[in-house]
Symmetry: C2
Subunit: 153 residues, 2 copies
Amino acid sequence: MRAPHGQNRRMNDTREHIEKLTDALRRAGIRVTRQRAAILEVLADAQDHPDAPELHSRANAIAPGISLSTVYRTLSTLETQGVIQRHQFDGASARFEPAETDHHDHMIDVETGKVIEFCNDRIEKLQAEIAAELGYEIVHHRMELYVRKTGQG
Amino acid sequence: MRAPHGQNRRMNDTREHIEKLTDALRRAGIRVTRQRAAILEVLADAQDHPDAPELHSRANAIAPGISLSTVYRTLSTLETQGVIQRHQFDGASARFEPAETDHHDHMIDVETGKVIEFCNDRIEKLQAEIAAELGYEIVHHRMELYVRKTGQG
DNA sequence: ACTCAATTGCGACTCATTCGCAAGAAATAT
DNA sequence: ATATTTCTTGCGAATGAGTCGCAATTGAGT
């Protein structure tokens, strides 16, 4: 199992990370407004997988007066731009994370709600094989393991 | 890849299948009403993965006058009883299927919406290993492959 | 048949998310 | 700089899936 990105990004990388993102947006003809900048910053800093209301409150801490609708709209825009990813875990509200370089799946601790990222190449390969066997190619996939710490409960 | 259940159940099995289910419910102290019987029948017959409104309309074809709330309530009850399973594919409304003996995952054709069932033991095993490695046990999991027929698009 | 808790239908409600629209910025042309 | 055009925003209203309260009904043991 490869260890995925994220967890230990140095504070310093954040700045250039954001710049890279804003540049990408501008190049796509999308204005980098005060609100979008704030939301991007929050997303770049986030070590967890926040939902829209949470992002809203964090963004407002940076740049007050951002509306929830704008957060939702921006999240959709960023998703379409491939800048972030949306996850819909088990009937809760959608949660977001920056789209990093490498793909990964999620393990959700059903007790705490904590999300752990992981990636397993053998599973990925098997998935592709299964699809191919039936004449399909994978557009995208979701794999979520809902887990509990062993030896309790 | 094991071929999963379902697809070719003979019309005849349906009757006893339903009886088995209704008995199970009664034993659990849950009344088998006209509406629940209809919904169970529809579910037992379904070869696809219908959502609540669809089940509502199919059930009403058998026993007119069933309300949508009742369908929702019954589906929740049946799910808690372990009689059916609820699936939440990619931000659409929930879809249901009878909980058959063997577990399987889903492949969704993104063009047509068609759902294909499959099961792969090696993936299941790998999932358990990954969780165990981090001190977790799997409560349940979801694996969905969103696919497209190869060689078009 | 009688009783009583479980169940239903209805409409009101929630919750996450989206939309319409007028007012407010960016980018652009002048 | 200024005007113009186009994109964005905030607000509140609207949506859509699903839930809930409640009075009326109905299974299922007695």
